[in-house]
Subunit: 452 residues, 2 copies
């Protein structure tokens, strides 16, 4: 079976993702003849990506119709799928905010304002979809997946599926502990986005958790002493991740270890202790500039390729599929090429102990019938009470603050930071952040309640 679809890509200036998407489409015959409309407000970047994508498809002889626009509604028009990648404020704004918090005594991102601009944009996209392409699927591929997907599914009738890369961490576990063929493990790691826990880890039909325990006992210390991370996210088997396994009883997967306990994150020395050399995990002053510089280098390289009509793009980008889930999910939905995926969708009983209208991250079977989450049962009460339910409340507070524009809830959030030492410090950092260049709309949106 083969079907043509139209895919609108919002925030298509994310070059690596957009080129990967085109690659996956080119290599998926059952979607031949499909149309992709790239949308971004950065027209220069958009043009470059459009050019590269068209040349890449031509080199492969793939049948793909490509368009680009800076008008969101044009991208949505007649779309069957919308992929939203947009990151409104960008890495430089994040850095400026971190630098300001540092002046108030906070270490790297120890306090924040929530995700006002991201949530605003997500809701705008979903509302536009309700109007322009109400039957399309929205595949949310930018953060915050958890809060954003919950907000969009509550506030609109659009079908939303959030995707993230974190769950691939499970293959990192398998590889590090010496499982010969990591691709042959079967596993399950449900939870909330960035908060998923390895409930099942099976290799050759046997529980493979004892292999993790053996590794920790016999090889852990040496690994933590000698392993040199090649990138900031290389923390899946760090001392911190293993410590969390001990604290919480199941192994934390992907971005999960990155987001637990404040005590792993107090300063660069502590971060290195828990998350390894040389970076101390993905959220440090050492690795973040490298991460952003690499992003910029990749853009520069792509720009070079776009301007060099003789360059072979197949050589530059390869011709094997990425491991992104977007295109296989689309293929499953429209062509019944069934697969199992890790998705973020409204709970509706998939994970016990959370309300139906909260978006959970769970495995799902995807085919012509739709995206059908597996009912994964329950997580251990310790994980629910120390990780999942507190994460759920934090998300709900973010949504209530966003919807009510309640500045006192931002203040409460700043106060609850374990790096905050006094009431006055929280007030000062909050007001300074809101007064920053680039936060004007947010500053106007959030007011103190009338009794203040």
């Amino acid at each position: 079976m083969s079907t043509t679809v139209k895919i609108g890509v919002i925030g298509a200036g994310s070059a690596q993702f957009s080129l990967g998407l085109v690659k996956d489409l080119c290599l998926t015959e059952s979607l031949a003849g499909s149309q992709v409309c790239f949308m971004d407000i950065n027209r220069e970047r958009l043009e470059m990506i459009h050019k590269l994508a068209a040349r890449y498809a031509a080199e492969l002889g793939a049948d793909l119709r490509l368009e680009s626009t800076d008008d969101r509604k044009v991208a949505l028009q007649e779309s069957d799928f919308v992929i939203n990648l947009a990151f409104v404020k960008g890495h430089h704004h994040s850095r400026a905010m971190r630098e300001l918090t540092a002046k108030h005594g906070y270490y790297y991102g120890g306090v924040g304002l929530g995700s006002y601009y991201q949530l605003r944009l997500m809701l705008d996209v979903a509302r536009d979809m309700e109007e322009v392409c109400p039957d399309a699927w929205l595949i949310q591929s930018g953060n915050p997946v958890f809060a954003g997907c919950t907000l969009m599914t509550r506030e609109t009738g659009v079908k939303v599926c959030g995707l993230c890369h974190g769950h691939y961490g499970v293959y990192g576990i398998a590889q590090t502990i010496g499982i010969e063929d990591p691709e042959r493990i079967t596993w399950q790691a449900p939870g909330l986005n960035h908060n998923i826990w390895l409930t099942h880890f099976i290799y050759e039909a046997k529980d493979a958790y004892p292999l993790i325990d053996d590794w920790i006992r016999t090889k852990g210390e040496e690994y933590w002493r000698t392993h040199v991370a090649t990138h900031g996210h290389d923390i899946q088997m760090s001392r911190g991740a293993v410590h969390q396994y001990r604290m919480y009883g199941l192994f934390p997967v992907g971005d999960t270890p990155r987001g637990r306990g404040w005590w792993y994150h107090t300063d660069i020395g502590t971060k290195k202790h828990w998350f390894g050399e040389p970076f101390g995990g993905p959220d440090t002053e050492l690795v973040r500039p490298i991460f952003v510089a690499n992003l910029e280098k990749r853009i520069a390289e792509m720009t070079r390729l776009a301007n060099d009509p003789k360059a072979s793009l197949v050589e530059a980008f390869g011709s094997t599929k990425t491991r992104e889930q977007q295109v296989p999910i689309i293929d499953g939905l429209v062509n019944d090429n069934e697969g199992q995926f890790q998705v973020n969708v409204p709970n509706r009983g998939a994970l016990e102990g959370l309300p139906d209208d909260v978006v959970v991250e769970v495995p799902a079977i995807v085919n012509k019938k739709g995206i059908q989450p597996l009912r994964v049962g329950s997580l251990p009460s310790k994980i629910m009470l120390e990780c999942i339910l507190p994460g759920w409340l934090r998300m709900e507070r973010g949504l209530v603050a966003f919807e009510n524009g309640d500045r006192s809830m931002l203040l409460w959030n700043a106060l609850e930071s374990h790096q905050t030492r006094s009431y006055d410090q929280a007030v000062a950092v909050l007001e300074d952040l809101l007064a920053m260049e680039g936060n004007r709309e947010m500053n106007e949106h959030f007011k103190f309640p009338s009794n203040w």
Copy 2:
């Protein structure tokens, strides 16, 4: 209508309460002929109280049968009501624990171990009741009411009703803001024990919240500058309580302002700022010794009275009813002398957004039909997300840690203290506390999980 009942009082060495109970029984004709069995492991104190109570009843010519025992099951035998007041470890142990945490850098009670001994005793009492007097009501009058009542109602079939004094704070609000006849207000303040919020505040059939707002605007600053607390708990109209009203949107009642945000409690200067001179609230190194000394002075005075057969006890203790709810509730249940009370009972829909098997503090109509909570609807989402639901999770973590004997959950709790500055500090204070004289049983109960 008049009925005789047997009341077993566990922890009857709490002299003030036990004498108050006898006073209320003496002054409640419809319970004439009833029997009270005082139980405590402190036989000396018990004897003194028994002696005083018998003389007090005789002076009033009341028909009351009094007994005392150090055997719990004797006290429970044939009881219709059991009142549990027991405080296992006592104030001196609490002080020793605080002094130890101070050595680890914590200010007054900034980290703790939970309520192992109290929960253990409560569960033992409830289990004994199941065996000895399964139809009796358990009136839990010692802390932790919230965790203890939830535990007992989940683990046993005993009917449990928890009582606390906090809600009387509402009359303190009325009095301070100048309402002429505070007893004529009507009000509602549901929530969880020590976490109750003034949803309704009515005087002369009108919403009286504007009177609070007026007082804050016109008299607040002067009150905070000039008011001198007569006791540590005199914080109902403190700057801190009013600040919480601003933060959360409803006025916090009784013990509620005492238990919010860490930022009110970082040191004595901060406490005085928020909770007033001269004590800075009930939980400070300034007032706690006075509180304990006063308890001991009262015991000494009672001992003196007990040893002076010529002293008039009616003169010493008065002959008006206390404002305790225990006797009126008993009178309502057995004699249909209906009343409305503030009780802690399993939720079962009384307060929206919490599970049925969580004990909530709500108003209830008490009569021959039983203790029937009013369905109070919902609290504002801000209060649910910032106060009630986090409090619920904290309680549930305490119960899971208690039931599983999971030392890692005690560690997590120590880590989550906003006074904890590092992982190592939490580990050290936890191990030192558990190794303390008097904590041996607890130290043996709590083990690290097998993967530790």
